[in-house]
Subunit: 448 residues, 2 copies
């Protein structure tokens, strides 16, 4: 492949190209290290070179060169994903999009951004006119918008707006095809689903239009409970309180806060904390609700101090796992969604069933109009067999598991690839060069 | 009573007082004329005088005088209520609050207003900084905020924020008591429920703090369907679409649009229209959803024209009834809420069951975290017996009816008065002078 690569490199004169091995290796990684199952499977998987395009014109050049020389191309943002989404299975070009961080415009309720814009940077810009991203992952300080759309599914804010895949949460995607003569295609309306959460196998996202939510002044609150299910029921009740505006409701079993060093003072040992982001105008109503469920408010940070000190969101969603793994690398996690009609009974059953082996961490979010608990349970890992047993038990109970211990799209949250996505894939990537090996449904067309 | 009244009038020197009979009679009325049952019951019920306070100090004077001379006092805003809420059963003072229309402040997400502020005026002011009322009745052009809180329950916007009684939708209420030495009491947090929807029996509301919602640019849309249940299912699906921001989803059976003269061109005869207010950023996603349910978009007004021409909201909620009654005064209405778990089947059953006698008009709104249909069905009135039969049939099917054909609080939507409201009532109105006769639970203490 080396000769082909050299020719490719030569054809990209003027573009920023990284060939230094340790750098390339670093930019071939993401946070799949959360999974002890993925680590051995993805070990040694590195790209051959990294290209860092400055604009769409350069992306077109890279796409044409990859098509011409039949070199795989794996697109990446900040690499904060956890399933090896941007680890190249068959070498080739790593396309690092982080230099494309322009924000063409922000209007009330909508923004147009390049794919490499960091979520925190977009939020900062949008807040100047009173708006912000509807939802962000816990990695928002470093993650890019393109990476979030291609590899993420929801996060802080999803309790209000649902998931990225819900109609209306992505307005437009502009992609470059990987063909002999690459094209630029702008997808709008329902067509954005052809590329959403497709792990970069369906065209190179260069620009996006996303809806914004109002930037309420968000207060941060910790409420603790002696009883775990009281914490869960409180979380659900707050989720259902239509007059109270919230951005985050995270519930933790009492074993988990030991991993939250910065919050130790506010979470008495043995209590189950709920971490909240709540519009300041709803804050006055919180004590009444907390009291109903027997909780105690132990920490409160007003919105005007949002930029200072500890930010509670950094302990939620998959940052919970990060904090736990910082202390104990044997810990891994699950991703679950409870069926709407019996979610809390199932949470209770599973909380007791696995005891200390599976530590319950719930995130409330909206699904089809209702607030339900999802979970990113912390798991004390022993063997892959045991992990699979735990997953199967959840599934047998009716819990949907978006398995984070696989790099195959269909084995994770998606289960099947949308036939529309496959049709689009054939059109935009006729040689099967984009992030090859990540989908069962696709025949590997690489000719090494 | 005349001597007592003259003394009272004398004691209120300097205040604006109306004694002219036709004026007083007019200001003793509201829109209970929607109900053929209420009309004869409230006929001839008028106050003795109208007082129009300019500020809270004057309200205190009126309260003291009413307490001293044991004269009933019935508070009113614009009189847009439909249950005779502000029709005085025992004469006395009509306290017209419409001169108190100051807006002390508007901040992002919250406003402080005097009780007599018109909803449209508050919206106009709030929109200057990008916010608006979370919900308004269809009478928002004339209705006052105090009247809405005391006599209303929800409206346009409730599909997002639920009802006024939901925690967080009222932040503070300031009331003047009717005692020998009237006091000013500010209720905050859950305590606001002591006065919410109490029809002015629990103190005179002088000032309020209410939360605001973001002022999205709202587009207005009409979608028509050949099949009624397709329209209903579409409405529910849009209600459940968490990524699409909406303020209004109103569904009408095909008989109703004949009363919407201004909309005739957009609603083909025999079709069932859905009237929508949708954030402009969600508009592009609408065609896909409409197509799924076999509907047709027949009208679309962009947000920048919101101030011009026909405003769809004016045909919804209880303005639907108003338009129908303009054409046919024999029409009256119901107010219903469908149980969350089987709402659409019940809608279908009732749509067929009563045929043309009960014309289905649905308004989707949030209850306890879920979007459900409520209904303000138009009823072709024949007799009170038949109306009660219709109501009883709905209730037997599990539909909650907030009966608009009674002036007794408990017989309407409330069913029972909160014991906290009763305790508060005893404190703030020891002589039972406030809007007497409207509650079963209260002994009439008036000494005529």
């Amino acid at each position: 492949m080396t000769t082909r690569l050299d020719t490719l490199i030569n054809s990209l004169e003027g573009l920023e190209i990284i060939t230094e091995l340790s750098q390339v290796a670093k930019l071939s990684q993401d946070y799949h290290t959360f999974s002890p199952v993925l680590v051995p499977k993805l070990e040694g998987k590195v790209g051959d070179i990294v290209v860092r395009p400055a604009n769409e014109e350069e992306v077109l050049k890279v796409a044409a060169a990859c098509a011409k020389y039949r070199v795989p191309v794996t697109v990446r943002g900040a690499g904060t994903g956890n399933y090896g989404q941007c680890v190249p299975l068959h070498g080739g070009v790593i396309l690092d999009m982080t230099r494309m961080h322009e924000i063409p415009w922000v209007k009330p309720g909508v923004a147009r951004v390049e794919a490499g814009v960091k979520l925190a940077a977009l939020d900062k810009k949008a807040r100047e006119i009173g708006w912000e991203m509807r939802m962000t992952p816990s990695t928002y300080r470093t993650a890019t918008i393109g990476g979030f759309i291609a590899g993420g599914s929801g996060g802080i804010g999803s309790v209000q707006y649902g998931l990225l895949g819900d109609r209306g949460n992505i307005l437009a995607l502009r992609v470059v095809t990987v063909e002999d003569e690459p094209r630029i295609i702008e997808l709008r309306g329902d067509d954005v689903q052809k590329v959403n959460h497709a792990w970069g196998i369906n065209g190179i996202i260069t620009e996006l239009e996303i809806p914004l939510g109002p930037a309420y002044p968000w207060a941060e609150v910790i409420v603790t409970f002696d009883d775990f299910m009281a914490a869960v029921n409180f979380g659900q009740a707050l989720g259902n309180a239509d007059g109270m505006i919230k951005k985050l409701i995270s519930v933790f079993a009492s074993q988990i806060p030991q991993y939250f060093h910065a919050l130790q003072d506010y979470i008495p040992q043995g209590t189950h904390p709920v971490l909240l982001m709540l519009a300041e105008s709803s804050l006055e109503l919180l004590p009444g609700l907390v009291q109903e469920y027997g909780g105690k408010i132990t920490y409160q940070k007003p919105a005007q101090e949002a930029g200072k000190g500890t930010h509670l969101a950094e302990f939620t969603w998959n940052h919970t796992t990060l904090h736990a793994r910082t202390v104990d690398t044997s810990i891994t996690y699950l991703q679950s969604m409870f069926p709407a009609n019996q979610s809390l009974q199932l949470v209770e059953h599973l909380y007791h069933h696995f005891g200390d082996e599976v530590m319950m961490h719930l995130e409330f979010f909206r699904v089809n109009g209702s607030v339900i608990p999802g979970a990113l349970q912390l798991v004390r890992y022993t063997t892959e067999e045991r992990l699979n047993e735990i997953i199967r038990y959840h599934e047998a109970q009716g819990v949907f598991i978006a398995n984070p211990h696989t790099y195959i799209i269909e084995d994770g949250g998606r289960k099947v690839i949308d036939p529309e996505q496959l049709k689009f894939k054939e059109m935009v990537d006729p040689y099967g060069l984009m992030n090859p090996g990540k989908s069962k449904a696709l025949q590997l067309k690489i000719h090494n």
